[in-house]
Amino acid sequence: MGAIFIKELRCMLLSPLAWSLLAVLQLLLAWLFLVQLEQYLEIQPRIAVLENAPGVTQLVVIPLLDSAAVIAMLLIPLLSMGLLSREYQSGTIHLLLSAPVGAGQIILAKYLALLIVAAIMLILIAAMPLSLLLGTGLDLGTLLAGLLALALSLAAFAALGLCISGLTPQPAVAAIISYGALLLLWLINLAGSGGENSLLEMLSLSHHFRRMLTGLVTSEDIAYFVLLVLVCLSLAIHRLDGVRRWS
């Protein structure tokens, strides 16, 4: 399993794809960060006189993390799309299937390698709001809750992308289906007319993500992300076992 993990990580970090995605993400977020910071500086003298005024964390950092999740949702499928589908396409899947490793180990190794790249992404995103500490104070509790929400979301995007990569030998098709599935999960609560506890609200990625962004960390939201990851990984393992049987 370690061998697959090291090989995947090496291939991802050696390819220009991961680095160009990280660079694009960083560029877009830096732009948003500067725009939001500028707007904050304009309105700051006016809201300073209010009681319980929202601070820089609420007005700059949280919107930044929200945008980061949406951009990452568009980038992670590009990293995950080839993880399994390229193995099917090139026939290297036979090397893995004839080796003494189980489907679970193959999936887990690939997922962990993807998580490492997602962690690099998270560190780069977190660096921007943390740089504010040089000039001002931040609500660290809210910031940590927001980063946790972002980390859990990245882990969920990665698991879903990996699972869908196992369904098709075409990486581009895997990326498109991943976009569809992630956006659907993100927007599914738009249709819900019910309150907090309706089924569509509970299924929605954005509902759980945004609740954590407010600084409220509940076991329900954490359980949602963990369950989503576990379901996607089990489906991927099941699918890879099926390759032996059906293809």
């Binding site: 061998a3 090989k7 090496r10 090139s90 026939g91 090397l95 004839s98 080796a99 189980g102």
Partner: protein, 307 residues
């Protein structure tokens, strides 16, 4: 002697299509078994099942006494497999790739360097270690594929068309390597090239439509009793007249004025030529057909069409 591979009653269906029908085979230490058959005969399916990368619809496979279905990891540790397209990652260097394959097949990290060096030496890749696999020629890529299959010194080596894409010199080297592997391990390979099977295999099994139709040990390359000849005429007779020639039992093939005939075992070539000359057909060629295996192969896989 305990067989290295024992496969009993293997069948495989893809939907309603039967790719493999009740195949039973055994491979013993020191043996090179060749699977021969036309395209679509089930050679690759058989090898994929034996390697554990495809599940059989029914049947059992034991690798060196370990059941492949019940203890897949333990059984797979004892085999090396080269699929029909070599399973390579073009973005890796040869050394990196072989290191990955060795670790994947649980070669202990202490003997990793030795294992890579030995596999490269055996496949003639000593100079290519730092080159990207994607930039190698097809023949070298095929060698990397073979190196990955033998890197962990497996008991059983499964090679699916190991010599495709190789130039004549490489062909000779790889055939020598396969014969050498056969002394130390058991080798099972597939091919549709008859001379290759004849030159490297100690036993052959011919598959046709997913069924084994012939299985025999091959001699040390001595020609069998010669019964097929290509005969060329300047003044060709009719097919009936040629077939009526004493000693000619069957006409196998025709290319213009050349005919491939099968003769009775007793008929000597000089007797055949005398008869043809006596009839004034203008004998221009009388070539014995070398491959006795080819006769068997043609008879079994398209025998009805030829007769």
């Amino acid at each position: 002697m305990k067989p290295l591979i024992r496969a009993i009653g293997l069948s495989r269906y893809f939907g309603n299509t039967c790719a493999l029908n009740n195949l039973t085979l055994e491979l013993y230490p020191g043996e090179v078994l060749g699977l021969l058959g036309p395209n679509g005969a089930g050679k690759s399916t058989t090898l994929r099942i034996l390697s554990g990368s495809l599940a059989a619809t029914s049947g059992q496979v034991d690798i060196d006494g370990t059941n492949l279905q019940e203890h897949p990891n333990e059984a797979k540790r004892k085999l090396g497999y080269l699929p029909d397209t070599p399973p390579l990652y073009p973005e890796l260097k040869v050394d990196e790739y072989l290191r990955f394959c060795a670790a994947l097949r649980s070669v202990p990290s202490t003997s990793l360097v030795d294992a890579i060096a030995r596999a490269k030496l055996r496949t003639g890749l000593m100079e290519q270690g730092t080159r990207l696999i994607g930039q190698l020629s097809k023949g070298y890529q095929q060698r990397v594929g073979i190196a990955q299959a033998i890197i962990h010194d497996p008991r059983v080596v499964i090679l699916d068309e190991p010599t495709s894409g190789l130039d004549p010199n490489q062909l000779i080297e790889i055939r020598r390597l396969i014969r050498e592997l056969g002394h130390l391990h058991g080798v099972i390979l597939s091919s549709h090239i008859l001379p290759e099977i004849q030159s490297v295999c100690s036993r052959v099994m011919i598959l046709h439509d997913g069924r084994p139709v012939y299985s025999d040990t091959l001699g040390s390359g001595e020609p069998a009793t010669q019964t097929w000849f290509w005969v060329g005429f300047g003044n060709p007779p009719t097919l009936e007249a040629l077939a009526a020639l004493p000693g000619v039992s069957k006409i196998i093939d025709q290319q213009g004025n050349r005919f491939c005939v099968e003769t009775d075992d007793a008929l000597e070539p000089e007797e055949l030529s005398k008869q043809i000359v006596a009839r004034g057909w203008g004998l221009r060629e009388l070539t014995p057909v070398q491959q006795s295996l080819e006769q068997i192969f043609t008879r079994l896989t398209c025998g009805e069409a030829a007769s």
